[in-house]
């Protein structure tokens, strides 16, 4: 509309493969991030299939326990650092400049670099499978001293890969903060910004705070392993529990890094298909900021059994319970957005609705886990596994899939196959619950997590869970087909395929031009496209 000026015609994308290596365009880099994340999702998913195949029946059928531990460790690391986080950054790259009326990210070359570090970090991480002694086998939380004195040599490669991933995330976060604060359309005030931008801005501050702590803890591991220090070794005056404090000081904000942008995505999709403005916009912003603040002061609820004094346990229990308040506000606001709306159920809406439903179930089990005395029985069981898969798979990943379908027409200018998308949704929705719901029962019945074999009373639910896992894994082949089919054969769409959608990105053509918003949108346009007026 206002932005495909003549200037663009001689400044389109470069031809050939070099385009993708040299690109500084936020749309290209967003695309790279998203395909990379999808590739890693398939790798991490394949590892999960291996885990569930071994757990299908009691006894060891397919692998030795050491390899099983490598699978659980690498599955967690790849999904967290390779799939969910890059996918969220990819969505941020594509959408934030278009949502704030900026021509591109503030630091385009940095943007290129933060992406291109990732494939190399991932290669280093995955290559450890082929080293002597195998890949890291100490869980994605890599507690010392299992990850220091007792770990295979490949651990040093893992440390290097984590450093690279951390660089990438920190640079990405700096870029987003700079873009939102400096490149925003001059007429757009902070409280005009759509929620995806708000949640990503807050997430960026979490990244900047948390990732250096992760870098610190892996560096301490590195020196403990190779240079004779004893940060985590009691015989040298260190303390293995200190590792957990430092790790979770990173790790707890990390889980909100993965979910806050998802909250933003859902806050875009629900109003569109309820044909009603988002309810409680400003309380959504404050709730997101409160969650981010609280995420820094609750880390030791992962450590109730490490031998913490009772005063510490009480404090961390109370602080943890408090998180339920702003999270509850968000869920209530989403419900109020739908209330007295005019609802339709296109595929992005189905994903968003099931997000609210299933994420809330994950929130309930999270609240239960936060109760310190009850955590004595829940800790390190399949109840925890069920909990974090409900918030990460049917939370973060659900939002990523919803966002992909919702904005895909804008990205490629074509509409996906709605019928196929609905089949895909119901397939994934049913199988994911068959996969993860029985794990609640396994955990309550006493099955520890991270075990390759189990006693016979756990056999039935493990079998059900594995069958669900195989079906859920297959659903991603359908998802890949759905996206590729849309890109190749989709019906061309207009600039606003969801005609009730609000947001500056919908004022651009479909597909959005390579360079957009060369002139910033006006105040009137910003208010017209506001989510909350």
């Amino acid at each position: 509309m206002n932005n495909t000026a003549a200037h663009d015609d001689h400044h389109g994308p470069e031809k050939g493969l070099l385009r993708w290596i040299k690109t500084t365009n936020h749309k290209d880099i967003g695309t790279l991030y998203l395909w990379f994340a999808f590739a890693m999702l398939i790798v991490g998913g394949a590892l999960a299939m291996g885990i569930r195949a071994e757990l299908l029946h009691p006894g060891l059928q397919l692998m030795d326990p050491h390899f099983f531990n490598q699978l659980t460790t690498m599955h967690g690391l790849i999904m967290v650092f390779g799939a969910i986080m890059p996918a969220m950054v990819g969505l941020g790259n594509w959408l934030i400049p278009m949502m704030v009326g900026a021509p591109d990210m503030a630091l385009p070359r940095l943007n290129n670099w933060s992406f291109w570090i990732l494939p190399f970090a991932a290669l280093i991480l995955v290559s450890t499978f082929f080293m002597e002694g195998g890949a890291p086998a100490f869980g994605w939380t890599f507690y010392a001293p299992l990850s220091t004195a007792f770990a295979p040599d490949s651990t040093d490669f893992f440390i290097f890969a984590v450093h690279l991933l951390g660089f990438s995330s920190i640079m990405g976060a700096i870029n987003i903060i700079a873009t939102v604060l400096n490149m925003r359309a001059p007429e757009m005030r902070l409280m005009d910004m759509p929620l995806f931008v708000w949640t990503w801005l807050i997430t960026s501050f979490l990244l900047i705070g948390a990732m250096p702590v992760l870098a610190g803890v892996v560096t301490m591991m590195l020196t403990d392993r190779n240079f004779g220090t004893a940060f985590f070794d009691a015989t040298g005056g260190g303390d293995p529990v200190m590792f957990q404090h430092i790790f979770w000081f990173f790790g707890h904000p990390e889980v909100y890094i993965m979910i806050l942008p998802a909250f933003g995505i859902i806050s875009h999709i629900l109003p569109t298909f309820a044909r009603k403005p988002l309810f409680g916009y400003s309380s959504m912003v404050y709730a997101t900021a409160s969650i981010a603040f609280l995420s820094y002061i609750v880390w030791a609820h992962h450590m109730f059994l490490t031998g913490m004094p009772v005063a510490g346990e009480l404090y961390f229990m109370y602080a943890t319970m408090l998180i339920a308040v702003p999270t509850g506000v968000k869920v209530f606001n989403w419900v109020a957005t739908m209330w007295k709306g005019s609802l339709t159920f296109e595929a992005p809406m189905l994903w968003a609705l099931s997000f609210v439903f299933l994420f809330t179930i994950g929130g309930f089990s999270g609240l239960m886990l936060g109760i310190a005395p009850a955590d004595i029985q829940y800790h390190d069981t399949y109840f925890v596994v069920a909990h974090f898969h409900y918030v990460l798979v049917t939370g973060s990943l659900w939002a990523i899939i919803a966002a992909t379908l919702y904005w895909l027409p804008k990205w490629v200018g074509k509409m996906y196959n709605e019928k196929l998308a609905k089949i895909h949704f119901w397939w994934a929705m049913i199988s994911v619950n068959v996969l993860f719901f029985p794990q609640h029962f396994l955990g309550l019945a006493g099955m520890p997590r991270r075990i390759p074999d189990y006693s016979l009373q756990f056999a039935d639910f493990n079998w059900i869970s594995s069958i669900g896992a195989f079906a859920f894994g297959l659903s991603f082949i359908l998802f890949a087909y759905l996206v590729v089919d849309c890109i190749r054969n989709g019906e061309p769409t207009n600039e606003r395929p969801w005609y009730s959608a609000k947001g500056l990105e919908w004022t651009l053509g479909s597909p959005a031009a390579y360079h957009s918003f060369n002139t910033p949108p006006s105040r009137a346009q910003i208010l017209e496209e506001s989510q909350h007026s």
Binding site: G280, M317, G328
Partner: protein, 366 residues
């Protein structure tokens, strides 16, 4: 087909009586201690609070989905904010949370504070076995996964209590306040028996404490609950809770056995005796890493066969087994005869040609 039947079995169980549910383990155990009962009650309280909130929230979602459909001609309203409503749904959850925090704090303080214990048991986690010591009775022993379970890992014929059976269970008297001192010799383990609601990390170099008072005689089973390496899934816990009299009798038997073992350490053993005893000890303690056939896992656990240690001077071999090295734990908790037997086995089996080691060699090497 068999699996299909078990699926039907579960759905029947879901619909039938409460006892059938217990068989499939759908819920947390109520256990046999006041702590486990308190935790169960608290768990159920939070669970029902979540259910009530869930009914309200999910009810509102489903009501919206059903009533406010565009296809049913629903017209969208335009309201989009209300400070009053926001305050209400910030305030009510806070009140609910306070109502939950009060009983939770009470239970937590009850669990964590123990004034005086009647007896103490020291629990040490090793990769991948538990060591139990009774300092007041001056006895102690190692508890390994039972051989019946080990033999069944790759077979379809699983014994009862597969992976939840040990060679030497922890024997405890009922109606006694028992303090556990929990630590580790290598990585972090976690000693968990659900029916006692005792679950505490075993941190190397530090001692954690926990306590229990068992109300009912019986056998209670648990597992290590912190990833501790390769055989984390294969170091179960079995607690035999017996009457106080039976416990006293058991202590007497243990002491007599300890004396016999000490006496055996002074005699000279034949190679056959050492090899026979050594094979059992090796399979229980060493085969987890170095493998039953002595081949190890390249890059992680060195092979026994053809190694410089097993074929070289006995002094180096003794030092590494008694004191540990890097990832290799120290085995000084084993008796002199047992150590001599297992070291001899390692030096003579797997095609090795090292020297025979006698218990007296171990005594002098300590």
């Amino acid at each position: 087909m068999k699996k299909l039947l078990s699926l039907t079995g579960i759905s029947t169980a879901l619909m039938s009586s409460k006892s059938a549910l217990a068989e499939y383990g759908l819920n947390m155990t109520q256990g046999v201690t006041s702590t486990s009962q308190d935790i169960y009650d608290l768990h159920m309280l939070i669970f029902w609070v979540c259910v009530v909130i869930g009914v309200v929230v999910f009810g509102a979602i489903f009501y919206s989905i059903i009533s406010f459909r565009k296809s049913q001609g629903a017209k969208a309203a335009h309201f989009h904010e209300s400070t009053t409503v926001e305050l209400i749904w910030t305030g009510i959850p806070i009140l609910i949370l306070i109502a939950m925090a009060i009983p939770a704090s009470k239970v937590l303080i009850d669990i964590e504070i123990l004034d005086k214990a009647d007896m103490t048991v020291k629990i040490t986690g090793h990769q991948w076995k538990w060591q139990y010591e009774y300092p007041e009775h001056d006895i102690g022993y190692i508890s390994n996964l039972a051989q019946t379970s080990k033999d069944a890992i790759k077979s379809d014929n699983k014994p009862e209590n597969y992976l939840l059976e040990v060679d030497n269970p922890l024997v405890l008297p009922v109606d006694t306040k028992i303090r556990f001192l929990i630590t580790s010799s290598d990585v972090i383990h976690n000693w968990w028996v659900p029916e006692l609601a005792v679950k505490q990390d075993a941190n190397p170099g530090f001692i954690n404490d926990s306590w229990t008072e068992i109300a009912k005689e019986g056998t209670y089973r648990g597992q290590c609950a912190e990833l501790c390496g390769k055989d984390h899934g294969f170091m179960p816990i079995v607690v035999e809770a017996v009457s106080k009299d039976a416990f006293a009798a058991w202590v007497a038997v243990q002491k007599a056995e300890d004396e016999a073992a000490t006496a055996s350490a002074t005699k000279t053993w034949s190679e056959e005796e050492l090899m026979a005893s050594g094979e059992n000890i090796y399979n229980a303690n060493c085969s987890g890493c170095h493998q039953k056939d002595g081949s190890g896992i390249p890059g992680v656990f060195p092979a026994m066969s053809g190694s410089d240690i097993t074929n070289g001077p006995a002094a180096d071999h003794l030092d590494i087994v008694i004191n540990g090295k890097g990832g290799m734990p120290a085995f000084k908790m084993l008796g002199d005869s047992d150590l001599a037997a297992v070291i001899t086995y390692e030096r003579r089996a797997f095609g090795n040609n090292g020297s025979v080691v006698q218990p007296s060699d171990v005594t002098s090497a300590r």
